[in-house]
């Protein structure tokens, strides 16, 4: 840091001179993560069109999305080097989301009769506006 005192602002700068500094910071590991994200996105498209899975392909795509989200949070949102309290704050959002999904589905999935039979469907609403529950 001997050169730092020579710089104009006198601020605590890295030892390079401003003009000689490279235009970009070190690209790794972000570039590697980016390439992995691109590969996963391409895989997700392939899975989405893979007819053997039918309508369940979306579940595989969402599983890939979770892996991509973990990569983004770890590297692009710096959870890798963050204090654990940041992870707890983020996790709190996910926990409450799970409660939201869990309680909502606990209602819809445990109503009497076939799934969706005990609520007014759009089809019923169109054919008989009075039909409710």
């Amino acid at each position: 840091m001997s050169r730092a005192t020579q710089s104009e602002s006198g601020r605590n700068k890295p030892s390079h001179d401003v003009d000689r500094r490279p235009i970009l910071p070190p690209l790794m590991p972000e570039l590697g993560v980016f390439l992995a994200l691109f590969a996963l996105a391409a895989l997700s498209v392939l899975v989405a069109f893979w007819s053997a899975l039918g309508g369940l392909a979306i579940l595989a795509c969402l599983a890939i999305a979770f892996v991509m989200a973990a990569l983004v949070m770890t590297f692009f949102m710096h959870l890798r080097s963050a204090m654990s309290v940041m992870m707890l704050a983020g996790l709190a959002g996910v926990v409450w989301l799970a409660i939201l999904f869990g309680l909502t589905m606990a209602d819809y999935l445990t109503r009497p009769g076939d799934l969706g039979a005990s609520i007014q469907t759009p089809i019923e609403a169109e054919t008989d506006p009075e039909a409710a529950n």
């Binding site: 980016f34 498209v45 989405a48 392909a57 989200a69 983004v72 959002g93 999904f101 169109e126």
Partner: protein, 224 residues
């Protein structure tokens, strides 16, 4: 460095003007800023979460209608937008890294590229909305092309989820714009202030939400 000569508690180093009086040191201040934003992001997760929950309920109740409706979205534009957002996520993360190293020119280039990618994203999104309107793919259209009534539920969610995300992109672009201007004016210290890192966290979150919106709105219903 004209700050009042109150020596920092740690080792007598000169105190940064960025340090607020109620913090012990910059490390603590940075941690507080990060934590505040992470708590905000947790509330944002639940903001989007209501829409995801609605999607979940209706997709479980009417899987066939949702599969049919989702196959009508513009998957090419949606996928290009995914690529654009992932690229902007990379440039934003690198901008944060460059700010940490006090590389001002680098921050400006990377933030400008991030803004550019975001603007192209919104442009593509706008074109996509225009195509959807042309195809009468909005729930109140008298010429709505899909037969299954639940398809209208899907298309309501499509406009709302993609729209809410686009608003977040717009907010992020505004934030980056201010930061780019301030970096150019040298009006804050890249290493001592949290601004670039905070904007990077927010942008990462917007990226994150798209990673789930993309499969739900565009990849759904293609394997038939």
């Amino acid at each position: 460095m004209t700050d009042a000569a109150s020596p920092s508690a740690a080792g007598g180093a000169v105190q940064s003007p960025a340090l607020a009086s109620h913090f012990h040191d910059l490390r603590q201040q940075h941690a507080a800023a990060d934590l505040g934003l992470w708590i905000f992001l947790a509330t944002e997760v639940l903001f989007f979460g209501g829409l995801f929950a609605a999607y979940l309920v209706y997709a479980v109740l009417y899987p066939d209608g949702f599969l049919e409706a989702a196959a009508e979205t513009e998957i090419v534009i949606g996928t290009i937008n995914t690529a654009l957002l992932l690229s902007s996520g990379l440039t934003a993360a690198l901008a944060v890294k460059a700010a940490g190293a006090d590389m001002r020119r680098s921050v400006m280039v990377l933030v400008a590229v991030t803004i550019g990618l975001g603007v192209v994203f919104l442009g593509a999104k706008g074109y996509e909305y225009w195509l959807d309107l042309e195809h009468h793919l909005y729930p109140t259209s008298p010429a709505f092309p899909l037969a299954a009534p639940p398809a209208k539920l899907f298309w309501s969610l499509y406009w709302t989820m993609a729209g809410l995300h686009a608003i977040h992109i717009l907010v992020g672009l505004g934030t980056w714009g201010v930061i780019l201007f301030q970096t150019w004016r040298r009006s804050f210290s890249l290493t001592d202030n949290s601004r670039v890192r905070i904007a990077g966290l927010y942008w990462g979150f917007v990226d994150l939400m798209w990673l789930f919106i993309w499969p739900l709105l565009y990849l759904m219903g293609r394997a038939t």
